[in-house]
């Protein structure tokens, strides 16, 4: 099944003079972790908003082209059904906390309450998510007293608890330290392992290299590159589009520039180790 399919989609926000999406054609398969990268104004968040139905229901503007989510045209989806089917995590931790619940536990419950989940099931799901994300220490705190990083984790937990099949996640680690970022990626990978389809907008290509199935590079509202993670991240063209390659990939390119090429272009540290070892052994022999 196809998660989402876009054909020549153009979108301009009301009152904007330039289009945010300028002819996007893209197909994302179900059950995969799809990374979306690019410069800050390249259209990544707009794409997320579109897939989630925020465009056109919340953000008005001019939308042309065909958009299908989970096999159905976007405009045929009932907004309420779409919010059930597609979970969404944004990058601003301060606006994702509702502000109307007294404890983190209740905050996570909010979405489940709105979906009419029975209390016992609610409690079970929340306990599981708290365990998964490691929120035990703050489960009784007031969400309004939390730091940005903590709020981000709570917002994440709240959406995961709602257990939608599709998740659109927009820069969830911008406020987090490296350890917490890795933990978040592992949670996302675990979601994928359980069959969810995920679209993840991120700058951290090192982590995407390990966990993502496909990468789509957006530039100025268009798809510049798309395909399996390996193919895209090892393509030197990503530099033109403002994408920072994984450290080891950049290392490989610079080695090549210095006249010391590796046999293959690594995107993860394990691959890099193998490739460099190979070169060292070849030189030794």
């Amino acid at each position: 099944m196809v998660l989402a399919s876009l054909r020549d989609v153009r979108f301009t926000y009301a009152y904007a003079d330039r289009s945010a999406l300028d002819g996007v054609t893209l197909e994302l398969a179900s059950g995969g972790l799809h990374g979306v990268v690019g410069l800050n104004a390249s259209g990544k968040s707009t794409l997320c908003a579109l897939l989630r139905g925020i465009i056109p229901h919340f953000h008005t503007g001019q939308l042309t082209g065909e958009v299908e989510v989970l096999g159905r045209p976007l405009l045929e989806w009932e907004p309420a059904d779409l919010s059930r089917a597609v979970g969404c995590v944004f990058d601003n931790p301060f606006t994702q906390i509702s502000g109307i619940r007294d404890t983190v536990f209740e905050e996570i419950a909010l979405g489940l309450e709105n979906l009419g989940t029975p209390r016992d099931e609610m409690i079970e799901r929340i306990e599981r998510v708290v365990e998964q994300i490691g929120l035990q220490a703050i489960v009784a705190k007031n969400p309004n007293d939390l730091s940005g990083g903590q709020r981000q984790k709570v917002a994440f937990a709240s959406i995961i608890a709602m257990d939608a099949d599709v998740m659109i996640i927009d820069e969830p680690t911008s406020q987090l330290d490296p350890e917490a970022s890795e933990a978040v990626f592992q949670i996302i990978a675990d979601l994928k392992a359980r069959g969810k389809s995920i679209v993840l907008v991120e700058h951290k290509t090192d982590l995407l290299a390990t966990y993502a199935d496909t990468i789509t590079v957006l530039s100025e509202g268009r798809v510049a590159l798309t395909g399996p993670t390996r193919d895209v991240l090892s393509d030197p063209r990503i530099l033109e589009f403002g994408v920072r390659p994984p450290d080891v990939t950049e290392l490989a390119w610079r080695l090549a520039d210095a006249g010391k090429p590796l046999g293959s272009t690594p995107i993860t540290s394990a691959e890099a180790q193998a490739a460099v070892r190979q070169r060292l052994e070849k030189r030794a022999s």
């Binding site: 309420a80 301060f94 109307i100 209390r119 016992d120 009784a140 709602m162």
Partner: protein
């Protein structure tokens, strides 16, 4: 405003969430109605004795609920600042015949004093009622009780988010003053210095409270806030005891008696 014992295990949610005190656990609607009816007595009965008695009753209730000290501090501040001011103003400005302190046009008369006493005590009783309600009832429980009666969750959101925004204003103001300090703008010193630092940012403080409303609306939508269909609630309020209805009815009768008595001139 919430002072319940910390909930650290999920088990706490499987049972009704108690605030640890039988009065605090009363249904918020019961509280609202009872306090209102008792306050009505203060207004309906003539003179200044009834309002003082009512105010005392409120203080007693606060102590029984375990919030005596908090309430008393608030209420004493109110009495001393507002109550006293109202009394003095009425005493000086209301004209009468029996002059106690001759001060020309603002002579203190017996009628003025009695009027002042009556007016200030009634206002204090009403303020006492409102303060008592907000001291004893966490807003969250109140909106929960309302939702159980059929009030829309959107209305609860507006109420709770507004209260939260007021709390946030304090935090935002502090963050803003920190930023001003960090810029090299003096905030410590006499009133003028502080004012010069604070006033330019007053508008932005308020604006930021209302900022990102669209983002918040979208975030709420992501939590299925706009979904149709029945909602459930994680928090269970303690069941409304039969006795509570009796209490409300008694208070209502008391209020009715007071009004009737006031009209018929029993007092």
């Amino acid at each position: 405003m919430s002072t319940r014992p910390p909930l650290t295990t999920a088990g706490d949610y499987r049972r009704p969430v108690t605030l640890g005190n039988p009065i605090l656990d009363l249904n918020p609607i019961t509280m609202l109605l009872s306090i209102t009816f008792v306050a009505v007595v203060a207004v309906a009965v003539d003179g200044w004795v009834a309002p003082v008695v009512v105010a005392a009753v409120f203080v007693l209730l606060a102590f029984l609920a375990g919030k005596g000290r908090t309430y008393l501090v608030l209420i004493l501040k109110l009495w001393l600042v507002v109550g006293l001011l109202l009394f003095v103003l009425r005493a000086l400005l209301i004209k009468g015949e029996t002059v106690w302190i001759p001060l020309g046009p603002i002579a203190v008369t017996e009628e003025g004093v009695l009027d002042g006493l009556r007016f200030s005590t009634v206002v204090m009783a009403i303020c006492g009622a409102v303060t008592l309600f907000f001291t004893l009832v966490p807003m969250r429980r109140f909106t929960l009780a309302l939702e159980r009666l059929g009030v829309s969750p959107r209305a609860s959101y507006v109420v709770l988010a507004s209260f939260q925004a007021i709390t946030d204003l304090g935090t935002t103001a502090r963050a803003v003053m920190d930023a001003q300090k960090a810029r090299g703008i003096e905030t410590e010193g006499n009133l003028l210095v502080r004012a010069k630092a604070f006033f330019p940012v007053l508008a932005p403080v308020f604006l930021s409270a209302m900022s990102a409303t669209e983002e918040r609306a979208i975030a709420l939508d992501a939590r299925a806030f706009n979904a149709h269909g029945p909602r459930t609630s994680l928090v269970l309020l303690p069941p409304t005891a039969a006795g509570e209805r009796v209490v409300v009815v008694l208070c209502a009768l008391l209020a009715a008696a007071a009004i009737t008595g006031g009209v018929l001139g029993w007092f």
